[in-house]
Assembly symmetry: D2
Homo-oligomer: 153 residues x 4
């Protein structure tokens, strides 16, 4: 299959969160199961949104629906590792954002896994796309690292 690009480095990310692993994250092969990585992506993105007051889980008129995700796995993670999660925005569209997330084992500078996560921001009730508010767009720009400078959807 196609040659894989190298894993990203800690310096490629703009915001950070630490997430503790759990016993049940390890599957029958004794390492963190491939599914768990997505739970860390989900928690990092939503945790950052809550911290920036851009998401109110129970109220708030706008929520982010996930339309696409992906992950590449480079090296094993396992309970009881503490995982550093790096976050950045790759693209900011009218109502959608493509986040990139890297998972790093404790003091490593090379990602053990990295993935992406596309959120479409919708009205909580109608679930129809809604433009990202300006204040949210400003916060997103602080973590934007665009490969090609293109920030249009």
């Amino acid at each position: 299959m196609a040659a894989r690009s190298a894993p990203s480095r800690a310096s490629d990310y703009k915001a950070w969160r630490a997430i503790t692993t759990r016993w049940l994250d390890n599957d029958a092969y004794g390492h963190m199961n491939n599914v768990v990585h997505y739970s860390l992506f989900d928690s990092a993105v939503n945790g950052w949104l809550i911290e920036k007051s851009m998401l109110d889980i129970n109220g708030g008129g706008q929520i982010g629906l996930v339309v696409e995700t992906g992950c590449r796995y480079f090296s094993e993670l396992a309970f009881p590792d503490l995982i550093r999660v790096g976050l950045r925005a790759d693209r900011i569209g009218t109502s959608s954002v493509r986040y990139r997330i890297g998972l790093f084992r404790s003091d490593s500078e090379i990602a053990a896994a990295e993935g992406y996560f596309v959120h479409v921001y919708v009205d909580r009730k109608t679930r129809r796309p809604k433009p990202i508010p300006e204040s949210f767009r400003c916060a997103l720009k602080e973590i934007l690292v665009s490969d090609n400078g293109d920030v249009a959807e």
Copy 2:
């Protein structure tokens, strides 16, 4: 962002499994969380491998390590849905397989979500890639649907 291709149909898949949803699959938005889809992928692929006697979780010299996964989400799934999981192989390499998985709500013919899952088959102890045995290759060919007829790695 790029226009999305249409969701696949039930007729695009070759093997089937039924998976029951769980209360905790629904997140704070009342629908099946994006992470859970990968747990269904994992269970469908490994369940099929076990059924075909190609995987012995606790013994067996060869295991499949996941090197890449991805998912596109088209419509909501939610507990208590019963989910039909369609499976096929997209590519069979020397020691790796790219599976495609579709999640269908009960009697729908249109996938609610679809994803892929790349397994590299390795020696359980050394964790080094190991060619897929001929018997396994035969079973895989029964679920192979190649877009371009290319079955080489």
Copy 3:
């Protein structure tokens, strides 16, 4: 520690549900992790409530909050087992119900694990206890098996 009472039998239960196991249910010891049993309890009780039209996850004025749970583990369960979940009510109070749940491996008549689950039914908004409606009480009585005939709270 205290001698343990024997596991219950299939004939001790009144309602049944089948739940498929998942790859990630198995932990590093290769068996279904002790946490997962509770996810099956939760899914069996709520699945039964939904089937009986006694719970509307997204609407409905009354929801069940869990105030106490417990489980005893007798023998191992593991993916890819299909698990038969037996359900009964042990006690029906004014606004609370104590359910008993048994987990059975495929065709076994002896529970591999059994537990209990106490729901207090509350107003969705105020989260204050609310008497169980008469129609719900009737459905519950169909699965009631009281050790001592006492159905008062």
Copy 4:
């Protein structure tokens, strides 16, 4: 039903661990699902054992099998709470230990939930009970708080 005893306090516990919550911990009711508490119990007990060099997940001749667990829920926890997990041993038997675990929201001194967790230590291969080694017994005594001074099984 029986009157419930009051929740325990932070001063009732002897060892501590901090566990981050995840987006998927919140269920359709917007709070941490009752199942997740057990995942935190499991992670706290095993994390403490690993820290004390009393558990080697992948090697080691002795593992702890869970034979009984239970939890009482007093107040809601929810993502993105950071949870402080208090741990103590209630009873130390010949080959079993009863742990008590309290979950505390950030700076609260009153447990939001508390539970117990009975481990029987067995030989990894035969899965037969094996007496707890003296070094392990010493470490356990440091976190022992017995209600009645009885430390016999």
